[in-house]
Symmetry: C2
Subunit: 440 residues, 2 copies
């Protein structure tokens, strides 16, 4: 009945191909019959879709189906391929860069981490170095028979909604940096991205191109296949990692709070990120907790970050703020474990400030759970008592406050979230990958 | 391709009937051709749907179409009926009860307001009185040829999500009161709700029934047609009124803050309310603004309500808290207008507290606008300077903070929102109304 039938047909096919991929991904290998039952589609329809996905190199067959495959003759078990497309995730940290490749089954197949002087380097130099790292990981992935299909970059800053432009990243000292052009040809092979995967990627940096501003679609350049590049806030990606990789522990509505140098939150509603009108939602680090408290770089006073941010915490504990982060944080953890009074008091005050900001958040949003990630997860044993006290005392609604979950992903949340977001670019739109991998 | 085709067919028909109603409602009278263009449906499909809505008494024809009706021969202009179903809205206030009837065109056709001793009366007595008021307004509506189709009740308290149960309404002193059973047959005629509309409703209270807990569906009782009853938080309904009645001024993402005796917020995202996991979102009155401030009934300390709630404001201004609200508030307004120092200081401090809570909200949610409603709108001239100062100073994202809009609906927001929500019960599901109005 709709006017635009032809494009709708293609949309329906695209959506159904994607649904089949997710149906196979979530419970693991399944027969065609099991997929049909799960999706409420006919066996015939599913067979057609599956054949297309097999031809496109996104699904493989693994021999006889397991006994829970449903009624009818035993079918062949379907699985997502581990030798087709992969997602590349990158993280720009204050003192490190990291890149990894994750296959369609969700396994990390290649990874590189390096130290970086993010705070004192020019954005261009940081992005050049990151591009090199992406190329290295992409070449490793190709060596494992994988074909990089998309790149997502986690940034500790505000990204304008629907763009790859970092409007502000105070802890990096960045302002209005568009990362897509700088990374344009990163990770791309110099020819078409065929499924063979054994081609070296070392020459891929030659084909620099002018990526469009949004960076979410591959460019039309003949003879090269630049990856679609997406930038997202690190707190957003860490929350998505929690949802995607640890979904048994978090409900589909939750608030994820994480600290690296700054503090950020991500609000997930029914499994989707709340991004905000301009893309700037989740700035819990600048919720005022003590209106007359110390001034903050944002222009406000007494922001949460002034009590529970990594630098504030180190200062309050009398620990050095400069120097290698990992060693400094490990030393603070040891002092807390040994009962050092100043360290314990600093952590207790950080927990109180977190409890104040989270109590306000709970009263506003009524989330199903609160998740602590990043550095906060590492210090949870010392933060939780005062945090939970404030939360319980200040939650207005009847009943207990939402569950507090300590993330098991630690510092890897943003990087894994970025790589899985890139994998989902393929799962969400299988047609675009096939077009790229097998043109015509 | 879907397994459950028959139910899907009915769903598609229901949705398309609803889309036609909204397409006619929003821009005013339109031809069938214009509706077809607007919805991307064929002229034939729209004609079939329109015929069904004309037979069901939801649409009427109004003579030749206006010149902007699109190409082809001039058609007949379609309009929503002003003599078919209507929505009933009710408001339970701390010191008043109100009920109104709104027709499909959005016009208020009947209304009753009475004073009430909500704070000192038993819930049963308040609800009995409200039921009488609903019956009176329903009878007036029938006298205008209208047929009440649904009832929505605005309550100043927490409603458990998906139920009609008021879990807590501190300013009424209510706890665990299910309003649907108490109002079960309110506003219903004793026979089937035919379109004639002239039947007296005075006997409708005889048919008491055991309404199901959720109260959102009419019961199956033969020979009577109890209205579907929905309860919602007053702040939620005030925000929806703003969205539906004043949509030119507010974007589809905004936060609405209103005060009557308490302070509540409603968060609207892409035109939909964020309700929260348990239905308790929007409790901005209990966001801590000064952690060591005065104790609050919620168990917390220094909540926004302790600075900007109506009682807190009156106390700070040295005005009496007891007595008739309207007169007390009018007197405070006069003192402020005359430059009374204590009144101005109280309002300035309330504005500061609002600015603190809203700055946190803006940093968390990045809304497109902030709307001040209820008593806050009435005192806007004296609240805004300090409110805006805090907001500007404490908004972390670059650029100006979101627009501040002062509601033009005043104290009527919750009541109008309730009546329009009831109208939308019909617009959203035209089949349910037809079934009730013309069984078989």
């Amino acid at each position: 009945m709709a006017a635009s039938a032809p494009s709708s047909q293609r949309e329906i096919r695209r959506r159904n191909l994607s649904r089949v991929l997710y149906a196979v991904a979530e419970p693991g290998p399944s027969s065609r019959a099991a997929v049909a039952t799960r999706l409420g589609l006919t066996r015939t329809a599913v067979s057609t879709l599956v054949d297309e996905l097999l031809r496109g190199g996104l699904l493989t067959e693994q021999g006889p189906t397991p006994p829970d495959g449903g009624p009818g003759r035993p079918g062949t078990a379907l699985a997502l391929t581990d030798s087709g497309p992969c997602g590349l995730g990158a993280e720009i940290g204050v003192d490190h860069l990291a890149v990894c490749a994750v296959d369609l089954r969700g396994r990390v197949r290649a990874r590189e981490d390096v130290e970086s002087e993010g705070r004192s380097s020019e954005p261009g130099a940081v992005l050049d170095r990151l591009r090199g790292l992406v190329d290295t990981v992409a070449a490793q992935a190709r060596g494992h028979g994988l074909s990089p299909a998309a790149l997502t970059v986690a940034v500790p800053g505000l990204i304008a909604r629907g763009t790859s432009s970092v409007v502000r990243a105070p802890n990096l000292g960045w302002r209005d940096v568009d990362i897509a052009p700088a990374l344009a040809s990163a990770g791309a092979s110099s020819g078409s991205a065929s499924g063979s995967g054994s081609r070296s990627a070392s020459s891929s940096r030659a084909a620099t191109s002018t990526q469009p501003g949004t960076g979410t679609r591959p460019g039309p350049e003949a003879g090269s296949s630049p990856l679609p590049i997406t930038a997202d806030n690190e707190a957003n990606l860490a929350a998505l990692a929690e949802l995607w990789l640890d979904s048994g522990r978090v409900p589909r509505d939750f608030v994820h709070v994480s600290a690296e140098v700054g503090i950020g939150a991500a609000i997930v509603l029914d499994g989707e990120l709340l991004r905000g009108t301009r893309g700037f939602a989740g700035e819990i680090g600048h919720v005022p907790v003590r209106p007359d408290g110390p001034p903050c770089a944002c222009g406000g006073k007494g922001c949460l970050e002034q009590y529970a941010g990594e630098w504030a915490l180190l200062r309050a504990a009398g620990a050095p703020v400069e120097g290698p982060r990992d060693a400094t944080l490990a030393a603070l953890r040891e002092r807390a474990a040994a009962g050092d009074e100043r360290a314990l008091r600093a952590l207790q005050e950080a927990g109180t400030a977190l409890g104040l900001a989270l109590a306000g958040t709970v009263n506003l949003l009524d989330p199903g759970a609160l998740v602590l990630g990043g550095v906060l997860a590492r210090f949870a044993p010392w933060l939780l008592p005062s945090l939970e006290r404030e939360l319980t005392e200040r939650t207005a609604a009847p009943g207990a406050p939402p569950d507090l979950v300590v993330s098991g992903l630690g510092a890897d949340g943003p990087l894994l979230g970025a790589a899985h977001a890139a994998v989902r670019v393929v799962l969400d739109d299988p047609l675009s990958y096939r077009t790229e991998a097998a043109p015509g």
